[in-house]
Structures are given as structure tokens and as C-alpha cells.
Symmetry: C2
């Protein structure tokens, strides 16, 4: 094989004319050029144009640079979905710094850990989180420059910083051209994993991956130019799954939102002609279950992306009922949020709903701009047979995969063992090439030697008319080893007894899979709507089984 030089290798090198490091910063420049007069951001009664937003980002970048912030420095952000948070997604990397968006629901100890681990030089924080941040700053060893965001749409909290965000911007130069990364492999952001156990790991994104996954979102949901995007998904979560960059690439409008309230969500969708939004299942479920009159007057097509769990039948039916288009995407922090999509085959539309739910409930196939997603036996690193039965570990590879874990080469190496990113999710490969998640390894319940998938039990529970949300965890059992215990949040006003729920399960699944205990009440959730099973695993110790 010829691997040496050919005529195609001579005098054909990279030049500034034909090579530019891939970076989402290009998207902002283009939207300023092409859509400078159009609305970039809406927040309450405030409006900005792309020309204004780009100038504000340049101010932020140059102000940070003047204060000595540069390549490899971490700028942390404890912010709601506000214009400032969007600006950080461009202004911070334009100073060649790394944006670390903090989960606003974390406690002070966790925040302090992250500030220290990331060696944060700057912390931009919203008044709403001043109690946590005040405490975190006392706990942290680092002493970042603290910048306050004083959002008129939030009252309460205090100002902690040495400088207001607008004052920082005033220091900057709206004309100063932003810096570009020295290399597209340079870090653009840092996202700590949710860390339900142990210390969180710092997932590093690079400019190349952010660029490619931002464009990957466009293809995954067939997004046209000029979307109007509602920020129901926290921007701190995997950089809002890269949508700060996606929407900007498309010259769209970002509609900010501090908290999810169905009445407000529908009002914004109606008023601003929102065309797209993303969220965990809980977001869509809330909208589906909201009073129908809230939806009056919405005439445009709304496209929603759901990730975090497979959409159950009620959600797929519900979205169709309210006329919203649903794309099921899948991923993890390590792959820039979703980088898989349950690509919808046209023939599915003609199947009975139950079959559609099965098809659409799968995690699917890699994004066009990701490279690989499959199920692999982690021992042999061989792909499992595409039989829909053989369990293996779900793995990704490609350009929308993290740079690695910050200051944790061992974890990075372990995660990338064998040339694939190991998700820790267990799944099967269907004959049509789609991946179906079965469970996290730790979510498998082993009862009497039989494996029970908690997801499967939850799927059945979701079909019960009174059930809003459910989570099934293993309860230690002297006889069976473990038995399934169901935690259930009922729909508002709905009623159900444990006995009814168990009888319902018994008619829908093998007897050994039926929960032996049922607990009603609101479920503990992360800020991104994921149910915190580790909290339930603690609670389950004191639950009495029905037949126990």
C-alpha cells in the first residue's frame, strides 16, 4: 500500500485560505453578517439583534482577556437560561477560555469541588443562586473573580460579586475581533457529570466536536434555517446539548426561560412563534398534561426533541394529540449530549401505535455527524449479534465524543478502552441496526437469579392511566436476593392503590418482574428532569414489601 507522498501531497498544504479550525464561533460571525438585523435573543420584554449579541460577546471576550483570562483558563457560570448564559457560550471561548456551566441545582459542596477542580478563574453567577454560591465560595480553595448577573426577571437573592456583568461588558471592546482557537482540538467547555456517586468527572469538549455536534442536531431533527427556539432545556446541561451553537448557526432566535411553567411555555410558543424546543421526558409530559386551553392560538408546527429516557406510549400519543412533532435522541455528557437519534422510518407512520412506540422508544443510530454507535461485549470488544436479545454495553465513537476527563487520565483511558467510548448503559442491537437501551448495569434487578430490567417495568407502569412518572429500583430481599420496588408519582387528581398497580403489572408482565412494593409520592429529580434513583435506593431500605 502506498502511504508515502504522491503528487497529491506536494504543494497542497494548509493555508489560511483553505483551512480554518472548526469552531462554533464561526456561527456567531455568520449570523451577525447575514442576520444582523434579526432578533437573536428574547428575554421577557427585552430583545437583542444578532448584531447586538455579537457585540456583547466580543465585549465579554475582550473584557475577560484584559483581565488576564486566556487559553486554558476556566470561566464558571452559575446561570439560568438567560441572555448572559448564551453570551458566555461565545464570549468565553472567544477569549480562548473554557466555559464551565454549573448545574444550578447542585449544593455548595459540589459547586466548591468543581470550582477547585476546574481551577476557576472567573465565576459568573445569577442572584437566584447566591445562597449556594456564597457558601460554595467559602468552601472552595480557589478565589475566582465573581461577576453578578442581575436579571430583572428574577427577584430575590443577593449580589455577591466584585463586579456586575454589565460593568464587565462595559470594560470590553465591541469591535475587538474575538480570538479563534489555536487548534480545533482546543477545549471549549467543561461539563461535570451529574455525579450521583463519588466525585463528578469533568468532561472536556473541544471546538471541533462542538461545531460538529451543533450541526449534527440540524440533521437529526431536519431543522430548517431561522428556527425560533425556546430554552426549556437548561443551558448548563451539556451546553444545552449544543443548541446555543445550533440555533446560532441557523440564524435563529433564542427565547430565554428561567423556569418551566406550562402556562408560560405555551404563552411564549404562541407569542414568539416558537418552532423548536428540547427537554427531558418530564418537560413534554408537563406540556401534554397541561389544560388544553393553554394551547389555544398556536398554529405553527412545533418540533420537540426528547432525551434522557425513551418516550413512553403516553408521551408519543400525547405529543401527537397536541400536534407537536417528536424526535427521540440519545446520548450522554461525554458525547456532547445526544449524538444518536431514533431515525424515523416513513413506514412506521402506518403502524399501530403500540408498534410505533416500540420503534420510537429505541435509542437508535448515530447522528450523521457522529461516527459509530453500537452494542459491544466489553470483554471481547466484539459487536453483539443484531438479534434484539444479546445484551452488551452501548458504545459510541466519533468526533462528537469528548476530549476526555479533566485531570483524570485513568478514567479517560478506561472510558475509551478498545477505541470506543463506554457509556455504562446496557442494551441490545435490533436486526435493523437500532440500539435499544435495556438498563444501566446498576439498574438491573436480580431476583431469584433472574434479571429484571427496571426500564421494562417502568414502561409497563407508564401505561397505567393514573401514573405520571415511575422509577423501579431493587429492594434487598432475604428470599429472592432483590425484588423490584416501584416509586410512583400520580397525575394531578389521579388516584391508585398499591394493590391496583400490582394487579395492573401482573396482567402485563411475567410474575417475577412484578413489583413487590409500591410507594406513592413526588419523585426526586435532578435539575434536568432525570429521576435520582440513588435517592430511591436509599429510601427503599425502609420500604415494606406488600407480601414481605
Amino acid at each position: 500500500m502506498n502511504t508515502g507522498n504522491s503528487a497529491y501531497d506536494v504543494g497542497l498544504d494548509r493555508t489560511p485560505a483553505n483551512f480554518v479550525a472548526l469552531t462554533p464561533l464561526s456561527f456567531l460571525e455568520r449570523s451577525e453578517l447575514v442576520y444582523g438585523h434579526r432578533t437573536s435573543v428574547i428575554h421577557g420584554d427585552q430583545r437583542w439583534t444578532w448584531r447586538e449579541t455579537a457585540a456583547r460577546c466580543r465585549r465579554l471576550a475582550s473584557a475577560l482577556a484584559q483581565r488576564g483570562i486566556g487559553r486554558g483558563d476556566t470561566v464558571a457560570a452559575m446561570l439560568a437560561n438567560t441572555p448572559q448564559m448564551l453570551e458566555c457560550h461565545f464570549g468565553v471561548p472567544m477569549a480562548r477560555a473554557v466555559l464551565n456551566t454549573l448545574n444550578t441545582r447542585l449544593d455548595a459542596a459540589a459547586i466548591a469541588f468543581m470550582l477547585d477542580h476546574a481551577e476557576a478563574k472567573v465565576l459568573i453567577t445569577d442572584r437566584e443562586f447566591s445562597a449556594t454560591i456564597g457558601e460554595a465560595l467559602k468552601l472552595a480553595r480557589v478565589k475566582p473573580l465573581v461577576i453578578d448577573v442581575d436579571d430583572p426577571l428574577h427577584s430575590g437573592g443577593t449580589l455577591l460579586g466584585s463586579l456586575d456583568y454589565e460593568a464587565l461588558l462595559a470594560e470590553g471592546d465591541p469591535q475587538a475581533p474575538g480570538l479563534r482557537p489555536l487548534d480545533e482540538w482546543d477545549a471549549i467547555s467543561l461539563n461535570y457529570t451529574s455525579g450521583t456517586t463519588g466525585n463528578p468527572k469533568g468532561v472536556v469538549y473541544h471546538h471541533r466536536g462542538a461545531y460538529l455536534n451543533a450541526v449534527g442536531n440540524v440533521l437529526a431533527a431536519s431543522m430548517p434555517m431561522l428556527p425560533v427556539y425556546l430554552w426549556t432545556l437548561p443551558m448548563f446541561h451539556c451546553n444545552g446539548w449544543c443548541f446555543p451553537w445550533t440555533v446560532t448557526a441557523l440564524g435563529g432566535t433564542h427565547v430565554c426561560l428561567r423556569r418551566i411553567d406550562p402556562a408560560l411555555v405555551f404563552e411564549l410558543i404562541r407569542t414568539h412563534g416558537v418552532t423548536h424546543y428540547c427537554g427531558a421526558p418530564i418537560v413534554h409530559t408537563m406540556l401534554i398534561n397541561a389544560p388544553a386551553e393553554l394551547r389555544a392560538g398556536i398554529t405553527q408546527r412545533v418540533t420537540a426533541l426528547v432525551a434522557g429516557a425513551a418516550p413512553p406510549a403516553a408521551m408519543i400519543e400525547g405529543m401527537a394529540k397536541i400536534g407537536f412533532d417528536l424526535y427521540h435522541v440519545y446520548g450522554l455528557t461525554e458525547v456532547y449530549g445526544p449524538s444518536a437519534v431514533c431515525e424515523r422510518q416513513p413506514e412506521w407512520a402506518h403502524m399501530p401505535l403500540a408498534e410505533q412506540v416500540v420503534k420510537n422508544g429505541r435509542q437508535g443510530v448515530p447522528y450523521v455527524l457522529q461516527e459509530g454507535l453500537t452494542v459491544i461485549d466489553p470483554q471481547t470488544m466484539q459487536q453483539v449479534p443484531a438479534d434484539g436479545q444479546t445484551m452488551g454495553e452501548v458504545m459510541f465513537r466519533g468526533n462528537a465524543t469528548m476530549k476526555g476527563y479533566l485531570k483524570n487520565p485513568r478514567a479517560t483511558e478506561e472510558a475509551f478502552r478498545g477505541g470506543w467510548f463506554h457509556t455504562g448503559d446496557l442494551g441490545v442491537l435490533h436486526p435493523d441496526g437500532y440500539v435499544k437501551l435495556k438498563d444501566r448495569a446498576k439498574d438491573i434487578i436480580i431476583s431469584g437469579g433472574e434479571n429484571i430490567s427496571s426500564l421494562e417495568v417502568e414502561d409497563v407502569l407508564s401505561k397505567h392511566p393514573a401514573v405520571l412518572l415511575s422509577a423501579v429500583v431493587a429492594k434487598p430481599d432475604p428470599k429472592w436476593g432483590e425484588t423490584p420496588c416501584a416509586f410512583i408519582e400520580l397525575k394531578p387528581g389521579a388516584q391508585a392503590s398499591a394493590e391496583e398497580v400490582i394487579a395492573f403489572c401482573r396482567s402485563h408482565m411475567a410474575g417475577f418482574k412484578v413489583p413487590r412494593a409500591v410507594v406513592f409520592g413526588p419523585l426526586p429529580k435532578t435539575s434536568t428532569g432525570k429521576i435520582q434513583k440513588f435517592v430511591l435506593r436509599e429510601q427503599v431500605q425502609s420500604v415494606q414489601a406488600i407480601d414481605g
Copy 2:
């Protein structure tokens, strides 16, 4: 500024899990995985699925590799828009070879030059072109392996080769995984410029650029997944502007077409539910002017991309009349075909048609996945003021710009002078950031010291009801230096006199710009529908001016 190592540079290197060379070969693999059962290619009564097409491409790649073809070797293709031509776009690079698609309308001497210059190791050729190829092979110094494509949809011509394409595929292994490029900067294809003067230059594309511009097309025309794409544009032209890769990335269907015949085009659009096609203005004009009954029964939305010249009023009106959606894109061979788009602002839809034509007739702004397009003074390399008046040279930069010219480092360096690709086109920058082409430098007519834009005169001529196509060139004039001479092709059945045309022009433009001579007849065109002004410049010497 910190440009050294930070924590973000340590232990976070490229691995097979998080880095894959960008290449359109990924698109084929994905479409086989996700859309394996769907139709990839339609050609007459023949059909293939993505599973079959991918297997055929692997056969081609492995057969070439077995015959010693590898990295840096040129495989030339003299093919119509057939399934084999599409397969070459994947199978050849999967052998790490470089695909050189030859313009099927060139003469033997030009083909021989290209075969020699590219050092072609293999030539895949269709019977239709056997006369030219037979002669070219006699003229050429290189002795490539000649493979015949014996397409049942063409009769005539002879088989020249030592091997039939299907026999070559039979040598290959449908299971052999295709090779990936060693580097995304590796050459994927070679496209000779049309070479209206002097020897053509060999424009080298790389895998990275082909990948990015293929995706850039998706955003430029807001293309959804699963398009049905009709091959009205020659695939030999800038690799079909990258659409072999674009349509494959979207899991779409390629509908092949050997020659443009409006009746056949409309039949294929109707029968196969075609959603997209591309072409030079002549293609769209032919469809607009075809009998309305040919369009009966077409109910789907059809989106067309036009490049090669700004769409005149008649085309914009005409496309609206036949219900086709039109995107105006702009580029050159050196930027992978179009990498600029006249991005449509929503408010234009409410303007009077004449204003819409002005807006849409501009070359526009860079693709989202290209980096820069602007107008620059080539002396100072400063951007011209965005005043719509100051002329300069139109220049591109970014990742959708060629690797350079093969074996021509001087031309490459010249083309990339100052960090931009110099198009040779003259234009102005409008206040809204859009580029408007005024003329090729050589298309400016200087009459009595005044500059006349031949494009401007052609724009006016296109508004005359009898004019199908026009081209204006400079005619040497003893008094004025030069005067404009108009060559006009009338619509079928239409009539007009030179005096009428001149009177029409006089009422629509300044007197000095009015053509002094008018010549009627079919215009000489390149195979891609571009009018060959160099032919007219020869003819013009013998034209008698009206007032001369």
C-alpha cells in the same frame, strides 16, 4: 497570552474513540446501517437499495485495491449520471484513490491532457463517449486500465476497455471494509477547471472539504432527511457540487438521468416524488418554458438550486409559477462548487417582484460551513466598503476551499495570495453584507472610457419577452474602444428584430450601455450550461454593428 500547555492539554489526546478523519465515506456507511432497505438509486427500471449500493462500492474499492490502485492514484471517470458514477464517488476513495470525473463534452485532446496530467491509472468510461475516449487514449502518454460501463439505457458507441465494470465488481469483495483516508486532508477527487483558455488546472478536493461542503448544502437549502434527488446536474461537474455525498448523508434516493429532456424530467419528478434537483440556469429555464401539461400530477414541493449565473426575473417568476422553490447558490470549482448562498430573508417575500429579483440575484453570503466570502481590493487585500458601489475581487476562505492545483504550486500560491482564494470574479459588497457579482474582469466592456457590465445588460435582455438566453461581449470599436454586442437565443416560436431589442434596451438602461449589434441564434454552451463567451468573442470580430 497563554499558548502553552494547560490542564486541558494533558491526557486528552486524539484516540480512535474520539477522533475520526472527516470523510463522506461515513455517510455511505450510515445510510447502509440506517436505510439499508430503502432505495438508494433509480435508473430507468433498475433499483438498488443502500445495502446493495454500499456492497457494490466495497466491491469496486476492493477490486481496485487488488489491482494495485491505492493512495494518491488517479481513477478517471468519463461517465453520464449513472449508478456507476455515483458508486465511483464512494468506491474510488474507499481504495484511497482519487476520483477524476471528466467533463463528457470535452474533446479528445483535452481528455488526453487530463489523463496524462493526472497520471490516470484507471479510466472508467461509458459507451456513449467511446469516440472521444478512443481518440484520447491514442493521444495520451499514459496507458490506464480501461473499464467499460455498458449501460442498458444507452445504445450506440463501442466498448473500448479490457474489462467490463460489472466484471471488475465481480473481482471485488462486497464484505471488504473500505479503507478510510489516512488523514482528512488527503485528496478525494480532482476536477479540472473548464479551461476556456490555456491548459485546464486540476483542482484537488480533500475528504474534509468534501464532507463539510456536502453538509453545507443541507443547511443552504434547508434540506430534510430522505430527499429524492434528480440528477439534472452533471455528476462530473465539481463532483455534482458534492450532492453524491449530500444526498447519501441524508439517506435519500438518487434518481439518475443521462440527458436533460423536460418531458423525461417532469415524468421522473412525478413518478418518483422527486423533491430536489440542481442545475445551471438553462435547466430551470427549459423546465419553466416546457408545456404546462408535462407538469400535471406533480403535487410534492420541489426545491431547486441554481448556480452558474444569477437567476433573472423571468426565472424567479417562472419557478414561482410552476410551484418550485428556488435557492440561488454561488461558487466555483475551487470551492467545491457552490459554497455561497443568497440566503433568503423572510421580509423579501413581501417585496415587489422586481425588488425580489434584485435581492435574490445576488451571490450572497458564505455557506454556514464555509468560512468567508467577501469583496477585496486585490492590491491592498482590504475589504471594499459595503456600499454596493466599490468594485473589488470576490474572494472565499474556509474549509470548503480546494487543497490547491495539482502539480501547479505557483498557480496555487497565486490563487491563495493573502490568505484568500481569488475567484477572478469582480463584485461589490452590499450594505447588508451580500456579495453581488458584477463581472469577470474580462467581461467588463470599456466603451468610451466608461465601464459597462455585460451582466447588467444581460439582466435587461432577459426581461424581453422573446429572449430565452443572452450573452453580451465586447466588440472592438475604432471610435469607442469597445461596444457591447448582444448574442440572443430566442424562445421557441418567438420573434424579435435587432431594432426592437435595441429599442427595448434603450428604454431600460443608459444609452452608452445599449448594445450596438445584436446577433440571433443558439448560444454555444459548456456541458454544464454555461455560455461560452470565448466562442462569442471570436465570432464578434465579424459582426457588423447596427450604427457601425
